[in-house]
Amino acid sequence: MTQGFLSKNPSVLIFLSALAIFTLVITFLSNAYGAELISTSMVKTLGKTLCLCLIAIAMDLVWGYMGILSLGHFAFFGLGGYMVGMWLMYARTRDIVMQSSAGLPLTPQELSDAIASQIFGVVGTSELPAIWAFAGSLPFQLALVLLVPGLLALVFGWLAFRSRVTGVYLSILTQAMTLALALYLFQNDSGLRGNNGLSGLQNIPGLAWAGQDRLSVWFLWASALALGLGYLAAAFTVSGKFGSVMRAIRDDEARVRFLGYPVEGYKLFVFTLTALIAAIAGALYYPQAGIINPAEIAPIASIYLAVWVAIGGRGRLWGAVLGAAFVSLVSTWFTGGRAPDLNLGFYTVKWVDWWQVLLGLSFVMVTLFAPKGLSGLVDMFDGLRPPQRRGAPLGPDDGALQEREAQE
């Protein structure tokens, strides 16, 4: 990251400063490190929101810049969460088993059996599935956070892009992958506790002394750091010629091939890279959420992700962050039951039920009337007005000029 990069992309510096200030303010208002004005659960919500902003950046890279409407990125997010959750659950259960044995030495086999029956009693088995082989080791499990989603993205992407599936068909394919994964995880014998999912993830083994107040702030810091680094990496990716090629692939991939660029390779590269970003976001999200289950991976989550990015403004990184933060926080407020009911006299609008309708409507509105989303508002503030490109084209030979522009 040279000075030239930052000076050419002033929005990166603005974003990073805003993120740093936000993190500091929250820290100084938190229960653990300051004025005790913000509850611990609110700190967790904000920390989770930062993780959602990170996956929104991933979505913006793959969709906004590259034109692949992936409905599978929450699968990578969830897998990242599952991988870190396995260690959290295993290590914590091990601590509990050790304590309850009250000093009696256990053989490794006894220990393993005891952990397995604790974790898997709920799905009626007491055997540790093979995929839990590394669950006792934090470094291994952290490596799997990247390896498992990364490999899935690589293999899936290779198969899908190689056969040149594009557009809606590719979206359907990614959605099918997500659905298949969710359905698989719903099964009790998938080895990940079926629809119970993994729970108690907010208790970090070895850090019980710190308490949730402090842990929540630490995770906020970690999430902010990941978001900052992710933003920096994404901005670097889209700023140079690579970004040029990405946008060119979005607009006319056949033409890019005739320039000599291996389009499939680029798609695979970006798809896998963004899957890794999503996995990191997920690995930071679920320890704050405390529980993960297969419903989190269901296709609807990935559709929400697309909605956030669309509402925030596709094709610019801070737009995606804005959209994810805004929509997910508003969503938390509406679905949290704190929004006052709207009494229309003949009908009372309960926002918990009607929020989805509102969200759907605003998505349609944004798509129709504000294709740049919320970030279009910022443009308006800056006095940037896109040219009105409406009206009938003047003819095939004047394709670039539309009636109104020509009159000006």
Binding site: R247, R257, L259, D398, A400
Partner: protein
């Protein structure tokens, strides 16, 4: 004679329609060739086959000194081998500036990793500027190419083609939508290029072809009907029947 590109006996059928029928074609390393023919003669399909967009049912397409089989390569590999193409409708990346369009086309490594960490050197900027001046867009480097007029887009695409530094240029109707002065400029550019490159021009406009003053290949129903100077082929009775005598 061993040419730069040797196409022999290719055929392609679309839903029973024979678009290319046992076509053979050859061009040397520094040669200008015009390909003419009525609509549906297979001119564009021929270019599609050479650039890898369409797979022929049979035949061979050999390229370069090492006689590489182009039918085994995909579009991007063929482009990297040194075959550049200009489309009939100008296709530039409208959302990006003229400079970005040219920079992307500039001959350099094409693999994702190399591109990600690629930084334009001073020489690259200079080359982009030089190309832009050459195609008359020196003042427009920072403009979005979507704002350009149709003729300017044609020029930008020619600039991108030059930036790729191909050995063979396939140019589909370069003069469409250009003014008379621009046509003359295009003619001299193509004639100039053909001193060091192989250039194939597909064109409808006979005046334009006459100005190119080069060997002409007439296609009809997917195969070569006649080949030679323009005067020679226009004197050919068959050519007059299928094409000129309409």
């Amino acid at each position: 004679m061993s040419g730069l590109l040797e196409v022999s006996g290719i055929s392609v059928t679309f839903d029973g329609f024979r678009a290319i029928n046992n076509l053979s074609f050859s061009i040397g390393a520094a040669e200008l060739r015009a390909v003419i023919g009525p609509n549906g003669a297979g001119k564009t399909t021929f270019m599609d086959i050479v650039t890898g967009k369409t797979r022929p049912d049979g035949g061979r397409v050999l390229w370069g000194e090492r006689s590489i089989d182009l039918l085994k390569l995909d579009e991007a590999q063929i482009a990297r081998e040194g075959i550049g193409r200009k489309f009939q409708r100008p296709t530039v990346f409208e959302d990006q500036t003229v400079a970005e369009n040219l920079m992307m086309a500039l001959k350099a490594h094409r693999s994702p990793w190399r591109v990600l960490f690629w930084k334009p050197a001073g020489a690259d900027h200079a080359r982009v500027e030089e190309l832009a001046v050459q195609v008359g867009l020196g003042e427009a480097l920072a403009r979005k190419s979507g704002e350009l007029s149709h003729g300017q887009k044609q020029w930008l695409e020619i600039g991108m083609l030059l930036a790729q530094e191909p050995r063979l240029l396939l140019v589909d109707e370069p003069a469409a939508g250009m003014t008379l002065a621009e046509r003359e400029q295009t003619t001299s550019l193509l004639v100039d290029l053909a001193k060091t490159h192989a250039v194939v021009v597909v064109e409808h406009d006979m005046d334009f072809v006459r100005r190119l003053n080069c060997k002409v290949t007439v296609l009809h129903e997917g195969s070569v009907l006649a080949e030679g100077s323009l005067d020679h082929v226009t004197a050919n009775q068959q050519v007059i029947e299928v094409y000129l005598g309409r």
